[in-house]
Symmetry: D2
Subunit: 339 residues, 4 copies
């Protein structure tokens, strides 16, 4: 099968990040078209990507026959028009949040896709793909903790851009916990209360930060979220679900921590090397592929390392017989020109 | 640039794993040839991979013009011949451990590659690519802990295959710590002592398990390794480096833990969402690409989820004004056929 | 100085616990009088304590010349009368919570003590003496985290007695977080909101559990508390303070965890054996004192253990010269009758 | 029963520490006699302890009729003579390590006590009383982990006094792991090997530091110990036991961590407030007793704190009815002179 040809609209931080990702880590896809309202930026970027063109009009980019699918990393205000164009051309689209900038147009987009009778739009709530959130969701779905009752979240940024205002904390930051709540609980949020504590003295004048959100869900579950975007310390996203038979927390830098009967707190044991070193194998092969394509061929341990390991293991096997120290016999690396 | 065409020799567990990896996660590469001494197995596998053929002779596979690079996942006894063939054809090769099965032939391979004057062989010590080992190496290279003095390792498997014997614990298990020692310390191991404690009663008759290895390095550093392959519990690989100015441990299921002056133990703070959710973005895009190529288009949150988030955030922004609970206004999902 | 003579009023669970504590762990005090509304219970207990009498009237117990100070572990409804009697006789009193059962009588007690011009009443909010809360308070007072902004608390019990009702969750459980808030923030709470999520199905009919309390303090700080008393799992008390320059959490079974610039999360390093083994020394000496008083003289390692350690260390010192294994020379324990 | 009267011989760091401990934390004992080879030091100390005398000759101190039991904190070279005197007078003795300074005299002491037919000597291996070591011992004795197979220990000091030499690392530091091994495994150590890695450059000239000890026990168990006394970082004592059915580690600043089937790592859940806050209750009562004896009466929350808690809880109970914020009604503290 040939690679999926993707148009990336918007080449700011998120768009550029997606372009780099597709080029370096994603199997089966390539960026065929880029677009940005700053045309030169798109053109410069296109020049660095094999087989990629810049197209100056976003709707033309969507319509282009050289485009199978679209990533929208454009400003939210342009999403409605661009999403409707994707629907019109029947092109799958991965849309960075928000879907659109208000409720009415979001609903309109939902309706138009529904009328098509086929799903084309995915929204970029990436936390659903985080291994810790996925593990928490799996734990809840397994039912081992019973039904969830309460959830506590913290969402902390060290800093935000100068133009960030109080409502952006809701729409750009808290929105992730909105999706997390709906994802983990599989039900809608029915009311929201924003508590406004005394502001952090270090927050910009006029910014209500921290904020505490209290969600009530369809079945009466309580969720509280601390959103605090000027901590000056760390990026920290933490979620604890308290359920009928125990509780579980992610985001403490130690994986999923669980507390449940009959008497233990802790995490999951790693069953095999596949779980432990799967990432290492992926990275190893990707970096080797990159090195070979770049003509350097090796980006990791080489033949000498294989030889050294063999020499040490031979000494080890000999010591296994006697229990005594055995000297490792190796030639000097310098004695082999080029090794 | 066109994709790198890889021949995978040996389609047992490791080979099949690499083939799946290249197909699903690696950018810029595809498997063009597969080979196995069980010809039917290779043919069946080739039939499932677009643009891939089975070639029954491994040396023919290496020589094939449709092959840019080679992955060796064949039995160790065949490595010498296959590696030399790769060198002869000037083809880069990623060779699963061991390089060869004895010291003399390993050295021969080293010399032959050195004579070529260009590096072609990489060996599959994948731990160097593990994020925790990489972080530990970076910490040592940064010099914040001073020079390393001592290293303690544990390497535990819940179980091993029936044919595993005492010397395989050295050559197949301990070999990883051999490479880890050389990687982290950047020096050779000069002597090895294997201590043989009373065996685990649950180990197969005749298997010396656990084993304790004691390495002495060129500059006198001490390394001890517990290798215990019949624990019945978990896969656990742990490494602690004790250095002049502190110590650091990986493998405790909590990332790299460090203890150093002026008075703290702990881990590294996550500075931004890129470190925290980079994996999530990668997974999100890969799964979306896969869904689009498979014709299902969406594998994650859809338009409805975007709408719901918009509705909740609108209520949140309203509550931000008043501090009072605000009811979320949403249409019923059922009211939109197809949503 | 002679021992403090204490009257313990109320010998239910808390009172009996305090009596045992004074007898086994507290230097400089003894229980001279016990009282309970079940007279026989007090008499039976008094008979087991050297130099202790039962007195059937609590006010007589307070007034008794053989009493220097009083511990109140009686029902809350009797506290007012008993506290006023202690004030009248000028006797220091340690009063288990609540001070009294309503706000007006509590205020009356405050006023009467103030009129005396000397402090006599201590209230049993014991969390202030917990090492983790003390460490958190010290961290805040040190100013390293800046001023506190927000606090999150969880207070979970596996189960409660059958008669526990929704308001007791406030008055008997949440009251601890009330004191913790005032202790850590050094300011008063100015408003309280109780959020009532859907109840735990396993909670008794009619019990609102869990409950979420939201405190607002004099300077606008936000505190939320999950009180959940039928978790079925564990006793768990957790407190996180989010401050201007970082955050710190206690109650995660791992001591105080702190996250602050410049880039670390973690705990405090143990500087010396005094911090690490202070408790061990205390326990060692107390158990030895108890054994000597009981006539068994030894409750721990004996002379044989000292001999064995000497023999092993002698071998160690010898091996230190050679680096070779040295056999430990010891006589057989059986060869010494009585050892 | 009257308090145990203890003679403390040697008032250096350890002796002075024991004296303070008995005065401030130990129920049922008091120091009646102190002795030191620097007579003035003993006399000055005695003057600060009610009912205590200094006696200049250690053997007179042991023999004194005002002494029920003895603590030896004198130099090890004097222990033999003093222990034999304790045995002669039939007085229980708590002897700081070492029992004596060589194997032959240690054995002589064992024999003399055995001849008496009654145990009088306890040795100060205090780790057996540490809560973590006690928990580890209990876990092993419970049999949940099966029989132990291997043990790894680390024993790290930030620094040692200037006169510390290589053999003192064995006799004064490693000796604790000697006792820990014998305590946890209930068997003798049969051989010792000291491995001598390249020394820490920051260690004093001539000091072999770190050292690695390898113990072999009667049934063939392997124990390795890193002793490293010039780390410059922290006091760190860590012990991991690897057993047939799992492993457990203490000393990681997080309590006992255990890894065993069926699939969890973690610690023990706290079942009730008694385990969680037992220490807090002890400290609360001891500090209150001390305050009352000192005439200040209160050392902790007072009547005002009880009143404030009552006021907040009353607001909480009211909010429990409505779910709405309720203002806390309190008088101003300033309005009550003396509160």
């Amino acid at each position: 099968m040939s690679d999926l040809r993707i148009a990336v609209l918007g080449v700011g931080m998120m768009g550029a990040d997606h372009i780099a990702r597709i080029g370096s880590k994603i199997a089966g896809a390539r960026v065929s078209v880029v677009n940005d309202y700053v045309t030169e930026k798109a053109e410069q970027l296109a020049a660095t990507i094999p087989g990629c063109r810049a197209i100056s009009d976003p709707l033309d980019a969507i319509a282009d026959p050289d485009v199978d699918a679209v990533i929208l990393a454009t400003p939210g205000t342009t999403h409605e028009k661009q999403l409707l164009a994707c629907l019109e051309h029947g092109k799958p689209v991965m849309c960075e949040k928000p879907l659109t900038t208000d409720v009415a147009t979001s609903l309109e987009v939902v309706k138009r896709e529904a009328e098509l009778g086929k799903r084309l739009i995915q929204v970029g709530f990436m936390r659903r793909f985080d291994v810790e959130y996925a593990a928490l969701k799996a734990l809840l779905d397994d039912g081992d903790l019973g039904r969830p009752l309460v959830m506590h979240c913290a969402h902390r940024n060290p800093t935000v851009p100068p133009h960030f205002d109080s409502s952006m904390i809701v729409k750009d930051s808290l929105v992730h916990e909105v999706d997390v709540t709906r994802f983990l609980f599989d039900e809608e949020i029915t009311s929201v209360q924003m508590v406004r504590p005394a502001a952090n003295p270090a927050a910009p004048e006029g910014l209500q930060d921290p904020q505490i959100a209290i969600f009530h869900t369809a079945t009466g579950k309580h969720v509280d979220v601390e959103v605090f975007v000027t901590t000056g310390v760390a990026y920290e996203v933490r979620t604890e679900v308290v359920a009928e038979l125990g509780s579980a927390m992610i985001g403490l830098d130690v994986g999923l921590l669980r507390k449940s009967a009959p008497g233990h707190w802790g995490g999951q044991i790693t069953p095999s090397f596949k779980e432990r070193f799967g990432q290492a194998y992926d990275t190893e092969i990707q970096r080797w592929v990159d090195a070979v394509r770049a003509g350097t061929n090796v980006d990791g341990p080489g033949a000498w390392d294989g030889y050294a390991a063999a020499a040490v293991c031979a000494a080890g096997v000999e010591s296994l017989e006697t229990g005594q120290p055995v000297t490792v016999e190796m030639v000097s690396r310098d004695s082999i020109k080029g090794a």
